[in-house]
């Protein structure tokens, strides 16, 4: 299998490394920059969907820092997304009479999200992997409940009241409308193209940030912590600070994503940020390969492609086959109902068969296949 692939790609690999890299990058950049035009020409109408996918990719990159670099399984990441979105909503919702500028609010969302990252991370500091996961899951569940119930906030003692029936989050109904960005007189509106370019810029910055962090002192500290916390501690890596930074920085990315998403959607409500979303983001990270920027981006996009396109197209195909062959079960099938099945299956299959993900960095592949090689290697050492 690999041999066939090797011979097919031989001419490509014959080009010197450096030039290959430049060509790949140039191609990708061109692709992404001209996509709305291509979309218009072919009349696909998917710019909005691609924009949403990129939001999810940014979330996946944020989670990648927590799970992939620092090795902390966060099952409640959607909570940070919610916090980013709601910070934006609260600061721009007309009834609050603030209606701040989006470009300021987005940074507020980042800071608030990072702050909550620290709050949620702190209780988990001494916990082992699975318990950390459960606690983050619990927080992930609590946040939407709290948001749902902050439609009427009353803070007071006896007859003195600081806040009385103050509507912070508008409860179940959510916030609508949410403020939109404006740029030199132009206001972002329903046309998906400006949103697309904005998220492209944000995504590029987020990827750049990830790359720089990965190769920094902090990035190495994260990886050492993941490898062996006690040894890292003894080498001068402060586990508390390092873990909290992972949570905070990881959460801050969802601040960007949340702010963007709230503004674009114009309306946000608690039901958007459930456990399912946390798991889907996790699935993107796993499919791509934990700790691997390229993998998470590609894997994340693949998963979304599968979810949004493959499932619906296969349904259409299956239905026509079913109708042709008069198999009613097939003719009425709706594969989009199976999406969580497929996400779950992806997680199980990847973890069991290819834990380093589809596009692994060499590191991860080494680490996760270690257990299998352990036995013969121990015999080698004698």
């Amino acid at each position: 299998m690999t041999q066939i692939w090797h011979s097919l790609t031989a001419p490509w690999r014959a080009i010197p490394d450096r030039q290959r890299q430049i060509l790949t990058w140039a191609f990708l950049i061109l692709l992404f920059l001209t996509f709305p035009l291509v979309d218009k020409v072919f009349n696909w109408g998917v710019v909005n969907d691609v924009t949403d996918v990129l939001v999810l990719v940014i979330l996946a990159l944020g989670l990648n820092i927590v799970v992939g670099y620092a090795g902390l399984l966060d099952l409640g990441y959607a909570a940070f997304f919610a916090i980013g979105a709601y910070t934006t909503g609260i600061l721009t919702w007309p009834p609050h009479h603030l209606e701040l500028n989006f470009w300021i609010v987005i940074w507020a969302a980042v800071i608030v999200a990072a702050f909550f990252g620290i709050i949620i991370g702190t209780p988990t500091l001494r916990l082992r992997g699975d318990y950390l996961a459960i606690v983050t899951l619990a927080f992930g569940e609590i946040v939407p409940v709290v948001i749902r119930n902050l439609g009427s906030v009353t803070i007071g003692v006896g007859s003195w009241q600081l806040l009385s029936d103050f509507n912070l989050t508008n409860g179940v109904q959510g916030l609508n409308p949410v403020g939109r960005p404006g740029l030199w007189g132009f206001t972002f509106s329903f046309d998906p193209t400006p949103w697309y370019y904005l998220i492209l810029i944000i995504a590029a910055l987020v990827i750049l940030a990830n790359v720089r962090l990965q190769n920094s002192r902090l990035g190495r500290a994260w990886m050492a912590l993941r490898e062996d916390e006690t040894a890292a501690d003894c080498m001068g890596v402060d586990p508390i600070r390092t873990k909290l930074l992972a949570f905070a920085i990881g959460a801050s990315f969802s601040g960007f994503a949340g702010a963007f998403y709230a503004a674009k959607l114009q309306a946000i409500f608690p039901e958007l940020f459930k456990f399912n979303l946390s798991v889907m983001i996790l699935c993107m990270v796993i499919l791509g390969g934990m700790g691997n920027i390229k993998g998470v981006v590609i894997g994340g996009m693949l998963l979304q492609l599968f979810d949004r396109v493959v499932l619906t197209q296969t349904t259409i195909l299956a239905r026509s086959v079913g109708e042709a062959l008069h198999i009613s079960a097939l003719a009425t099938i709706d594969l989009s109902l199976w999406r969580w099945f497929f996400f779950g299956l992806t997680m199980v299959v990847i973890m069991v068969l290819r834990p380093e993900g589809l596009f692994p960095s060499a590191v991860r592949r080494a680490e996760l296949h270690a257990a299998e090689e352990e036995a013969p290697r121990a015999a080698e050492k004698g």
Binding site: V67, G71, L73, L75, P123, T124, R126, L127, R128, G129, D130, Y131, A133, I134, V135, A138, F139, E141, I142, V145, V146, R148, N149, E229, F275, V279, L282, C283, I286, L337, W338, R339, W340, F341, F343, G344, L345, T346, M347, V348, M351, V352, P355, E367, L368, A371, E374
Partner: protein
Amino acid sequence: MTQTELFIQLLINAVTIGSYLALIALGYTMVYGIIELINFAHGDVYMFGFLISLTFLGFLDANTTLGGWQLWVITFGVMFVTMLCTGTMNVLIDRIGYKPLRRAPRLAVLITAVGMSFILENLGMIWKGPSQINYPNIFPAIDILNDVLGMKTAVLFTTKDVFLMGVTVPLMVVLTLFIRSTRMGKAMRATAQDREAAALMGINVEKVIRNTFFIGGALAGAAGMMVGIYLNTGRYLMGFEAGLLAFTSAVLGGIGNIGGAVLGSYVIGFLNAGSDQYLSSEWTRALVFTILILVLVFKPSGLLGERTPERD
């Protein structure tokens, strides 16, 4: 209802909730004790207990309240078969998802467990739909206090309550006896203490693990059926919700500790009933999660446990 009556009703609710939670919590705690894994999919096995028993009752055309010998034969017959099915299901989950990862980093197995849970939930949804599912009311609900004892009270204590407690408690007792007295039970306890040493002593660890999953799954399946009989309704997500409650119970009581799982379940049952009654069911969930976080952060060994889920 008077205050006293409210309180007594609360107690009844607490005990019934605690009872079926305990059956589920036992599965969590036993599996964690043996392989230090939170079987995320365990709650969904409980949900399948509900669905499977529902299906079998459908085969038998049992959709009205039964009486006489029919009631007992069908109820326990279906329960027995359901337990076999869910026990096997749990073993399969381990075989497919967890066994290949016995020596993998813990992160990996936990992710698989989450994946399994989603697979099961989705299958449940496809099978019986996303909305509330009706469960046949096969067990008679005779108001014991008012009709049988002739009292005049608003407190509702029916034969269903008796049935629920009457089945779960013996099951727990049987399990405890099993763990304490039988060879397999001893093997399970040994493996939970030190897997390697147990293996060195000739215990077939994989067999022990398999049995643990089977028993846990069977108990969860029984709980699923009993909730069906008791509440006459269920949903494909009932496993996720009950699972989190049961898991909190197991942690509260001391993970790995069987008595702890039972104790914790009744405490959570009490809190659940109390919160539903005096606050609102919405806050119940948040309350239970807060307890979970507090226990794990401040007293990770729980009320009765010695095993601490801290960093090694």
